[in-house]
Assembly symmetry: C2
Homo-oligomer: 462 residues x 2
Amino acid sequence: MTTDAVTPVLAHVDAQMDAALERLFALLRLPSISTDPAYKADCDRTADWLVEELKSLGMDASKRPTPGHPMVVAHDGSEGGPHLLFYGHYDVQPVDPLNLWHRDPFDPVLEETANGTVIRARGASDDKGQLMTFVEACRAWKAVHGALPLKVSILFEGEEESGSPSLVPFLEENAEELKADIALICDTGLFESKVPAITTQLRGLLAEEITITGPSRDLHSGMYGGIAINPIRVLSRIIAALHDDQGRVTLDGFYDGVPELSDEIRSQWQGLAFDHEAFLGAVGLSKPAGEQDRTPLEMIWSRPTCDVNGIWGGYEGDGFKTVLPSKAHAKISFRLVGTQDPARIHDSFVRHVERLLPEDCTVEFPLGKGSEASQMSIDDPAFEQARLALSEEWGVPAAYIGCGGSIPIAGHFQKILGMDSMLIGFACDDDQIHSPNEKYDLASFRKGIRSWVRILDALSRR
Amino acid sequence: MTTDAVTPVLAHVDAQMDAALERLFALLRLPSISTDPAYKADCDRTADWLVEELKSLGMDASKRPTPGHPMVVAHDGSEGGPHLLFYGHYDVQPVDPLNLWHRDPFDPVLEETANGTVIRARGASDDKGQLMTFVEACRAWKAVHGALPLKVSILFEGEEESGSPSLVPFLEENAEELKADIALICDTGLFESKVPAITTQLRGLLAEEITITGPSRDLHSGMYGGIAINPIRVLSRIIAALHDDQGRVTLDGFYDGVPELSDEIRSQWQGLAFDHEAFLGAVGLSKPAGEQDRTPLEMIWSRPTCDVNGIWGGYEGDGFKTVLPSKAHAKISFRLVGTQDPARIHDSFVRHVERLLPEDCTVEFPLGKGSEASQMSIDDPAFEQARLALSEEWGVPAAYIGCGGSIPIAGHFQKILGMDSMLIGFACDDDQIHSPNEKYDLASFRKGIRSWVRILDALSRR
């Protein structure tokens, strides 16, 4: 239901869209690539920009140092009623391969496409465009009513794309300040780019980078080929043996703790009109490549996976160099579900690699950190209030869905701050996040802001 | 036997070593990387430098254009007696990874090492230092005697490290001019860095670069992992299946045309004191990784092989990017022996890849060229004359050996110019050709020059 309080705020949002876009573009121009040390100062400037932005709408905002990139924390609204903590991240993914971008990733622009107007830039969808939907909703509320309808705290992180090394210590040190009744996390998407959704199921992530060393230096394959072990051949065998012919991951104990879907969720998912042929067709594929006895939705939402995210070794340049390389490298990650234990799976992965490693080769495992999967309970009435507000804005019933990605923050909020999270976002499957030419639909941005206006109103009535 | 004609020439060589090194260093300073178009002008300047060098010692030398890098051709000596054609190449391998070089690859220097003085630079051993041993031998002969003892022609190529695309047409167009009684090819090594050798057996080479494309763009592994095919996983399976557990190559028909060693060669090789533990130990290895039922010398000299010379795909930078890449690439090469047919093996490789390729992936095979192995007959008495001259210089009996590398020029000389080749060179196993920090022993350079002085004398007496 659209209340009297909400109507003028929605009108204000629509009237002020150009100014809102200008603010988002200013944020998108800052190249806050957290994983690359070359962009450290840019990450810091991005935090400063956000502090000024939040102060400009009357919030008590500050930049908070960490051993890595800073956090941004802000508070607003009066005590007494419900208290929300909104989370987003201001850092973005690297932009390589840069030659596949059609324009500068940090020079945002509005583009007309066959599917409507989009905002094109690195971070447009993940996560700057999303976090600004909430900031703009707050700005509109305050512009129209002078104050927010409930107490709001904000936490913006700058290390989400690089493993969040400072997050847990920061939450532990500032637990009293950050604890709220419920968290809102805006880093997820619509269902099939059309239906608004609250994500209640998230996969965990275990990431490792292995380096296989064979000969102590690069060799000439004419002189040593056939007698010296080739580390690329070793690495290929290790990767090839991670899956069986049916697409199952072969690590010992990998499926321990992987739950089967409840009948309730299974029937709910069967009711969703998920068109996997369209989902795959949009990226040039046709066949689900995961476990062959699982449905496509299970593959992306509720089953664990293993992917190679990068591989390199030897000569990559133009022409041919008959080198037999000393080293071969791969970045390998696992998406985890249920109660799969990242540490035990890492142990099992190490044993898998070592079993296939010839005596003459060595291997390094420099990372080995992971996060567990998380599952929200939807007993808190806030979930249903938010779902109705979303349905109202989008004109279709909002869904409770799963998500293939990993957003460990939800688990941390639960464990450290003792509160549940509602994962609500407006990204589309074709936003090309983590890829060249990332975009965010202008409709996602506008209706995202409007959605938060409605949700703030709905949750203030608890 | 050291003749009266030879003694003063050898003394001249020793007296003029500093000047000879200055000339070699000038050649090593030219970055003639033939495979990289950025160095095209440098390759041309290197050909000019060689023409001037050969003219300076009174030869009729010229730069000869080709569709690629130019050839250098020179003639000297009087008609009537035996006629030699000397072949070398002035182009060098790329220098990456540059960060593993201890100094500028194109700033040559003499370095003292535990194993004696070395000339450190890209091309010092492959092949500029080697070709200059012959040029300096000619210079010394002419300085002492005013003329060479027999007719000499020289052919320097500038595309040996990039597949020699212009070589066959050039030989065909200039067959009359280049045809001689026997060819000398200086692109091989000593046996175990100590014993001089004439290489009579060379492996062929088939090289291919495959690109596997899965999704039409890079994807986020959180969103698509588990349902979208990962081309790195596909490539790894293809590479892993190229060898069986015993180190044999699995391609259909791969071993067709692979001869067993004759009893004569087998017993000769058994007589060579090849220490495979030292050979492998020098590069940090201990176990021969090839076919487990073959001896180490067979693995490197007479058995065909398959190596991956490069692999890449996805994210290679610092940190972690959970990308599911669109493409994965590998450079794969096969060393061929006997009468193995490069075209049939390429067909078999294509079938191997296509059999393991999921329906949703595509693959490209842009190269697919290859050269057959070659085997010299040692019936020509020039072989034994040269072997005795080498033995005299080095103080140990010179050996007839095999070579793991591919020097297709020997086959071309046989087919197009109708002449045999003697492959004589002075490189050592630890020269790190094609690797960072390439070197050539000062002893190889000095005794190489002196060896050619003796060989010129010996062959003039046919």
